[in-house]
Every structure is written in structure tokens, then in C-alpha cells.
Amino acid sequence: MFESLQHLASGFTIATTFYNLFYCLIGAIVGTLIGVLPGIGPIAGIALLIPATFGLNPTSAIIMLAGIYYGAMYGGSTTSILLNVPGETASVITCIDGYQMAQKGRAGPALAICAIGSFIAGTIGLFGLVFLAPPLAEAALAFGPPEYFSLMVFGFIVLSNVTGTSLIKSLMMAVVGLIIGTIGLDPVTGDARFTFGSISLLGGIEFVAVAIGLFGIAEVLTNVEKPLEMLEQRVIVPRFRELYPSLQDLKKSITAILRGTGIGFGVGLVPGPAPVIATYSSYMIERKISKHPEEFGKGAIEGVAGPESANNSACQSAFIPLFVLGIPFAPPTAILLGALLIHGVTPGPLLIGQHPELFWGVIASMYIGNFILLILNLPFVPLFANILRIPKKILLPLIILFCITGQYTVNNSVFDIGIMLLFGALGFLMRKWAYEGAPLLLALVLGPKLEVAFRQSLMISHGDFGVFINRPISMVFLLATLVFLAIPILRTVSKYLKKGGIV
């Protein structure tokens, strides 16, 4: 422990040189911008800037690129809150209550609480990274295909009804997501499935296109139906005093932030779609333990604070497998791995020993970076909140333009724009009949992973289903799923029995 602190101190001397501070600042600014723009996410952002780091030393290069990654987590919520357009996978959940807050004139507090929550989560996550990295990395290796499968089952069942509306409708949407997730190359045999000869469909349906369609485009379409007077009026003019969260907001949020941080840090260690699971879980938990669950979906600040903190601390813990094992569990860290290689640093179990200046320098810079991001983001709050002063008849077409260009930058694919518009239309109909988009997106992310883990497990066990219950971690997840399913049934039964007993 003492040794870690000593190393951390030396890391701070590296990170606080003028040169490294400068690159940390650049990374944070670029990351925020990338997060704000829908479509282009941290992955593309880091990849695009790798060539710009060719002339730098490895430590400065990684400081800047890591800054883009966690900077994007700060910016990602902005369009979710203001325009109902999720900038990346991690900010889908923020759309739900964040956008509702903005519609009620509380865009400022929503934006500010995201920055504050992200800062707290980033800071705590960093301490986890310093003190717990090696044991946690070893623990993450215990997750083989069977454990992964059971975790996905757990996530799927528990998180499907994340917004707490109709369970049946949520499950229906989840099944639609599962079906869409099967499009593309079969992960085990490599055969094409449901592509009908289309080359573009071989790679499957792009998640970001579906997310922007279901949320952003559908929101615009829903507005188009409204009477003209409503579109012409200036929506909300927030007073300056109301731009930042009140004491009461902070009180409400702080426990949500801390819980979100814990969840995100734990989930971030699991390979795969950590940001999605972390944000959904955090939202789910906040809604379940809230004294006012009816406020969720209508602009509850906890529903923004929790998930936003979760995705930031998941981003911190994603660095653990990268630095300790040299294996990227999340796509953005895969790009960082590439950047390390280009700079002549071989990521792997020897990295911390061979390049202590890099490891501790980057860690320390992340702390400084989080602070820079907080300072950077809070003054922008009034600016961003003012976007909502634009009359809707002008704002709505702009959102469509924003979505289309944003989507195109992801894969430079016109086909993806078509997919996005298609899901926009579907999302419009879903809203009319009160179906939620969140379960569909969850299933679209988890479905393919669930299928692969299931088939891998059975291949390893030669078809023996016992593999899922013979392994302790896997069994715990399956049992937890059973308990979750059983509770409502038991409740109903006991209610029924009580009634019967009294009457």
C-alpha cells in the first residue's frame, strides 16, 4: 500500500510536467468534443488521433489518448440530455430521465450533475486502480464462457424491465432486440444469417444506428405530430440561478453517485459490454430503492447521476485488464493497446515493471484529467442549456442533420444511415403504443454475447449442461436470476394466501 502511494507520487511528478499537462488538456478537450457529437465515439476518436502521437514519447501519447477516452464519457451525456440523442452506448440510459429534466427546464442541473458524478466516480475509480489492480485483474480471468453466459442471463432477465413500466412489453422488446442481434455472420460457424445476400448486413446491425434511431429520430418524429404553435414557441428559458443543481439535488444525487461508482467499477472488469450493463444496473437499482419510484422516467436526477457515474468508473476499471494483463476487455482499450504497441511498449504482465513511468504517469494524469474535465465542463453548462432556447421548428431539423452526419462518421457507411432512419420510424410507432426502446437496445448488445458464451460453454463441456451449475460463479448468477424471478411470484402467492386467510 505504502509502495503504491510512493509510486503514485512519482507518477504525479511525471504527469504534472508542463508537457504532459498540455497533452492531458488536449486529450480532455478532444474527448469532450467527441463525446458531445453523436455517432463518433471514443473508439473512432482515439483511432483517428493515434497518428498524431507518432512524434511523442509513449507516456505523453497514452496520457493524451486516455484523456480522449474518459473525456468522451463526460461529454457523452450532453446530447442525451438536450436532444434525446445518445452520443454513445454508455449514455442510452441518460436519455430517459436526462431528457425529461431538460424538457422541464432543468437541463442545467442534469448536465452539471453528470460532470460532478463523473468526477467523483473517476476519482474513486482511480484509487481502485492504484490499490486493487493486480488482484482484480486475476479475478477477472476467472470469468470463462460459462460464467459469462450466466452473467448475461442475469443481466438480461433483471435489466430488461429497466424502466419499470410493463414487464410483458419490455420482454417483447427484448426479444425483438435478440432477433435483430442474430443478423450477420454466425459467431461459431461463420455462416451468414438473415442477411438475404446483402453484404452490408454481414457485419450485423450497428448498435449506435439503432440507438440514435430509437431515441433521437423517433423524438423528432413524435414532435412533428404536435400542433404548430407548440413547435414555434420557445421551449424553456432557464433562469441562471437554476442552471446548477440545488443543495437538494446534490443531496439526492450523492448516494446515487456513490452506488453508481461501485457498480461501474465492478462491472468494468468484466469483458464485454460493461458500459451498457453498468448504466442499466445503476438506473435499475436507483429506481428500486428510491422512495419516489414514480418520478423515474419523468426527470429524476438520481436516474441521471447514478448511471453517469457508473459509466465513468467502468471506464477507469477497464484500464486494469489493459495494464495488468495486456488484454483489452473493452473496444476503446483495444485501440489504446494498439497505441502502446506503436510506441514500442509491449502491453502485458510485464508492463508495470518495465515501464513504471508510463503506468504511474498515466494513472496520475487521469486524476488531473478528471479535475480538468470538471473545470472544463461546468462553465459549458449554461451554453449547452441555451441550445433549448432555439424554437423547435428550427431545432428539430438540425437534430436530424446532426444524427445523420454523426452516424455517417462511425463507419463511413450510408447503409447505417438507412438503418438509423428505419429504426427512427420504428421508434416513433413504439412510442405511440408505449413500448420502451431501452430493453431492445440491451438485448441487441447482450444477445450476441449470450449466444457465443452459451455455445462456447457447451463446446468446451462436450454438450454437458452441468457446466453452468458446476462452476460456483456461474451458479451464483443463475441462482440470483431465479430468486429475482421468484420474488414477484411469491409476493402474489402470499398476498393471495393472506386474503384467503382473512376472508
Partner: protein
């Protein structure tokens, strides 16, 4: 007066520029399609090469990622690009594999070879605490227990999966192949002990071999690796088998030969540039230069090889 003379100068420059533009290739930046997302081995290698080749070509080389369809999307676009030498595609082993597995709009025949840059041997890695001390013990166990040894790979029908299938055929054993969604996940699985071995291609898993957590069980190369001179190839152990991944550049069919030559010469110089050499060494990739003709022959023979192998598997 000054303005008039300025205009005259501009017109002169433009007039002078036109004939040169018509004659000299290249007049604008050259793009290289990578049919995978940014950050993979192919992407990294060609980004590094693009950085050093620009100065020899006289125009910048820009990498564009067109991921999707297990590389089919990028190759389709590359094959259908205008054959003027400004839109190149990175040709990697799957170019000769995927067309046998799904209906694609292209094969290697839709492209003109330019240069091969990298060729890496494949290998099997096992955990250092695995019960097998040598390849012979491993194969003996596999013969006695067919389909019991699990071997991870980086994706169904991908390069290292087919290497593993071809090797088991040559060695006369039956293994249980488990596909993962990339080299990272498959290496994670062996570190966690969820599979018995993995089929990889450098730089995947190399750092764990250096750290002593994993070891190279079988090296499918013609000669030993520089980094691990003590590890014998499988050929030395009496199994006539060598296979790997190659990565080169191609242009659409019909690209003028003089453009191909200019591109080849520039990329060759880019490859020989000390900066690129150092980058390649750090990434632990094995540079292996082939000119247009031998590279074309390599793709043709690989195409034939995988056609046979995949027919064999699909039976």
C-alpha cells in the same frame, strides 16, 4: 497592377500545373482501405506504413476503415473502386478465405497485387502449468482422447482457426475448436484456464510468453523466432507443416501498370524506412517483402489451399 500580376502568376501556375497533373501519378492523396475496425493488427501495421510512405510517394497515404461482414464490406468496396491507383486495399489472409465460406462479390482475382509487407507464423500456446511438456506429449494425448483438448481461436472461419484445422489434419489428431471474438478474448480464455490451448499469430499472447505464464507449444514457421530462439518449429519435430498470416496491399483490377510500379516502389521505400522498421520490431511483426508478381502467386496458391481445406471441413 499588383493584383493583375498576381492573377497572371496564378494563371501561369495553373496552366503549368495541368500537363504535369495529367502525366504524373500521384496528384492527390492515396487511400488504403482496412476492412476491419481501427486498432487491429492490420490497421496498426498499415497506419505505421502509411506514415513513412507518404514522403516517398510525394502525397499522403490515408488509412480508411471499412469494417463489417468479416471483411467482406471493405473488400467489396475496394474491388469496385475506380482502378486509378488512388484507392488501395490491404490484402490479408481472409481475402483468400472468406470467398469460400460465403458468397462474396470478389476474390483475390478482382485485385492487382502491389506488395506484401508482413508475414507472421501462427502458433499454439498453452499455459506453463499445462500437463504437456512437449508437442509430442500433446499429440499423444490428443490421439488417445480425440476431440477432448479444447483449442481457442480468434473467430470462426478466421485465419488462425483454419491454421488449427489444417494442423490437426496434418498431425492426424482431432481437437475441439472453440471460437472467440478476437485474439484478445482467446488469450484471456487460456490465461483463465478455460481452454487447453489457443491458436494465435503474433503479437497476440507474446507478452505472456515473455512473462512465463504461457509457452509456445507448436510454432508453425519455416525458421525459429528471433525473440524465442529456443523454441523449435514443428518441422524440426518431424511434422511437415508451416502456416501463417500475410498482409500486403492490392489495387483494383485494371489499375495501370506504371501506377502499380510507382506505388510499389514508394511502399517498398516506406517499408525500408528505419522508423517503420523500428515500429514493426516493437510490434513483434515479421516483415516479409514480396514484389507484385510473387505476391500474386502467393495469393493464388493460398486461395487454392483454403478452397480445398474448407471443402474438407464442410463435408
Amino acid at each position: 497592377m499588383l493584383r493583375k500580376s498576381m492573377i497572371a502568376v496564378v494563371i501561369l501556375v495553373l496552366l503549368a500545373g495541368v500537363p504535369i497533373q495529367a502525366a504524373e501519378f500521384p496528384t492527390k492523396e492515396v487511400q488504403v482501405i482496412i476492412p476491419w475496425a481501427a486498432g487491429g493488427a492490420t490497421d496498426l501495421i498499415f497506419r505505421a506504413l502509411a506514415a513513412t510512405t507518404g514522403k516517398y510517394l510525394g502525397k499522403a497515404v490515408v488509412v480508411v476503415n471499412r469494417p463489417g461482414g468479416g471483411s467482406a464490406v471493405g473488400y467489396t468496396e475496394g474491388a469496385q473502386a475506380k482502378p486509378d491507383g488512388y484507392m488501395l486495399t490491404s490484402a490479408v489472409t481472409p481475402l483468400t478465405i472468406l470467398p469460400h465460406q460465403v458468397t462474396t462479390a470478389y476474390t483475390y482475382k478482382n485485385f492487382e497485387p502491389i506488395i506484401n509487407v508482413v508475414s507472421d507464423p501462427s502458433m499454439f500456446l498453452i499455459r506453463s502449468d499445462a500437463p504437456w511438456k512437449s508437442l509430442k506429449e500433446f499429440l499423444d494425448y490428443a490421439k488417445k482422447h480425440p476431440e477432448m483438448i479444447t483449442v481457442g481461436n480468434s473467430g470462426a472461419g478466421g485465419g488462425v482457426h483454419l491454421v488449427a484445422l489444417a494442423f490437426e489434419k496434418t498431425a492426424g489428431v482431432k481437437l475441439n475448436h472453440i471460437p472467440f471474438s478476437g485474439g484478445g478474448p482467446s488469450v484471456t480464455a487460456i490465461l483463465g484456464g478455460h481452454v487447453n490451448a489457443v491458436s494465435v499469430s503474433p503479437p497476440e499472447g507474446i507478452s505472456h510468453v515473455q512473462a512465463g505464464k504461457l509457452k509456445i507449444l507448436a510454432l508453425f514457421a519455416e525458421k525459429r523466432l528471433e525473440m524465442f530462439p529456443d523454441v523449435p518449429t514443428v518441422k524440426e519435430q518431424g511434422i511437415d507443416f508451416a502456416m501463417g498470416m500475410w498482409r500486403g496491399l492490392v489495387a483494383p483490377k485494371g489499375t495501370p501498370p506504371d501506377a502499380i510500379k510507382k506505388l510499389h516502389d514508394a511502399f517498398k521505400q516506406g517499408m525500408d524506412d528505419p522508423v517503420f522498421r523500428k515500429n514493426a520490431k516493437d510490434m513483434a511483426v515479421n516483415l516479409s517483402y514480396l514484389g507484385p508478381e510473387p505476391f500474386g502467386k502467393l495469393m493464388a496458391s493460398e486461395h487454392e489451399f483454403f478452397e480445398k481445406l474448407i471443402k474438407e471441413i464442410k463435408k
